[in-house]
């Protein structure tokens, strides 16, 4: 599935950004769950009487804490308009701290959704590798939900998750449920264990040799710190997965969301329009250029 097709410059100049893309809609916090010591999952519903926000897995919104600021956040909810908008947010600065502190009933502003999501249709008939690092599991979670709905149409599915410590693992209960399924291989590894952790320890790429996939018919989605994704993508290509079947969710300083401000530029790409999900065939040469 391809979402958020980038308009030509001529068309963009004529029609401008989509209605509502630059003005936040009012949403209210419908639910809030703490994932780790610094990460919360928020469920948001329209507070303006309008329609629910429908975002494709892999797209992002600009979430606005009134009076504090706005940040880009990948959606963690499915593409069904019936479900609330879900974001999993880590408190790393003033804006995300304010968002994480929002209580049920509090108001937040939402612009979007923006960008191109995961190419879900590529998974049909293929083996699938989902490789997440840290908070990068959040944008991949709706992909897992989509795969579970289409499980019979997809080959082997492996979900490989890297985390800093056992306490930093997101969606622990859901992952345990996933790992219990016979038709999904779900493995979590941590960089640093503590006493009592009986799971895997090491980098997430070390899990690849045990993953079940046929490289020639595999599609891989990865999200996490850029260096982790870069090494993961290279390991996949080295294993024989075609570069154009390796998709990474890139992070840059998204701001306007509609390709006007240029702050999310990565070489020839504007990631708010051309991304955040791009394939490694395009990204590989760009990621080798330092400070790009």
């Amino acid at each position: 599935m391809s979402t958020g097709t980038r308009p030509s410059p001529e068309v963009a100049a004529t029609v401008g950004p989509a209605a509502g893309a630059l003005t936040p809609r009012l949403f209210r916090v419908a639910g809030r769950a703490q994932q780790t010591h610094d990460t919360w999952t928020l469920r948001l519903v329209p507070g303006d009487g309008g329609a629910p926000l429908v975002a494709a897995p892999g797209q992002f919104t600009m979430l606005y804490a009134f009076g504090v600021g706005e940040v880009p956040l990948s959606v963690s909810s499915g593409s069904s308009g019936a479900t609330p908008l879900v974001h999993t947010v880590r408190a790393v600065g003033a804006v995300t701290e304010a968002i994480c502190a929002a209580k049920p009933g509090d108001a937040l502003g939402v612009r979007g959704p923006f960008g191109r999501g995961w190419p879900l249709d590529e998974t049909l008939g293929r083996d699938v590798l989902l490789i997440a690092g840290g908070l990068g599991l959040a944008p991949l979670w709706p992909v897992i939900q989509w795969i579970l709905r289409r499980r019979d149409d997809i080959g082997h599915v492996s979900v490989l998750v890297g985390s800093r410590t056992p306490a930093d693992v997101l969606y622990r209960a859901e992952l345990a449920h996933l790992a219990a399924r016979p038709d999904i291989q779900a493995v979590v590894t941590v960089d640093a264990a503590d006493p009592g952790w009986d799971g895997r320890v090491g980098v997430v790429t070390a899990l690849l040799p045990q993953a079940r996939f046929d490289p020639a018919r595999t599609v891989a989605f990865s999200c996490g710190p850029e260096i982790m994704m870069r090494l993961t993508a290279q390991a996949l290509v080295d294993a024989g997965v075609p570069a154009h079947r390796v998709h990474l969710s890139m992070e840059r300083n998204m701001h306007c969301g509609v390709g006007h401000c240029g702050r999310c530029q990565l070489g020839p790409l504007l990631l708010c329009l051309d991304g955040p999900v791009c394939d490694y065939d395009r990204l590989g040469p760009l990621l080798r250029i330092r400070e790009l």
Binding site: G162, A193, D194, G202, M228
Partner: protein, 164 residues
């Protein structure tokens, strides 16, 4: 440091050929020599392969299951440093004097492995430098990958940038 040695793993009657991915590309005659020094072992979850301070007398070729490389840290308990799975190798202290193990190794799940007798291997490597090069080349690849992975972990890429 724990000084008591664990009971030796159960050996089956069948010697194992080193057909694990780590040795892919190794000359067939060299794989056969290694197989001649090996026996098949099975371990139950929780069973110890070796302990820190023991004599390093075995190279384990993991065929199935997961093994934790551990170290006991006073006041913190036993910490898993790394885990290795099917297709990987465990133990290279047997290569270098004084042949003393520096970590513990414990089966996290049911493990099937080829247990290669180190003294047999060292004698064959000394007698056949081509075997020695071939084996060390493949083990060095493992060491390089483990070193690279350790460096990645030192970067602490998942840390929250807002926290010290």
């Amino acid at each position: 440091m724990t000084t008591s040695s664990p009971p030796p793993p159960t050996a089956s009657e069948t010697a194992s050929a080193p057909d694990i991915p780590t040795f892919a590309g190794m000359q067939p005659e060299h794989r056969a020599i290694i197989a001649g020094c090996a026996r098949e072992v099975t371990l139950k979850p929780g069973e110890v392969l070796f302990r820190e301070g023991d004599v390093a007398d075995t190279l384990y070729l993991i065929r199935a299951g997961t093994v934790a490389i551990e170290m006991f840290v006073p006041t913190r308990g036993t910490i898993t440093i790394e885990t290795v799975g099917a297709g990987d190798v465990v133990g290279w202290s047997w290569l270098f004097p004084p042949y003393r193990l520096r970590f513990d190794a414990r089966a996290l799940s049911a493990v099937t492995a080829g247990a290669v007798e180190a003294s047999c291997l060292r004698a064959r490597m000394a007698a056949d430098p081509e075997l020695g090069y071939d084996l060390l080349f493949h083990l060095a690849k493992v060491l390089a990958e483990r070193l690279s992975a350790t460096r990645m972990r030192l970067l602490d890429v998942y840390r929250n940038p807002a926290q010290p």
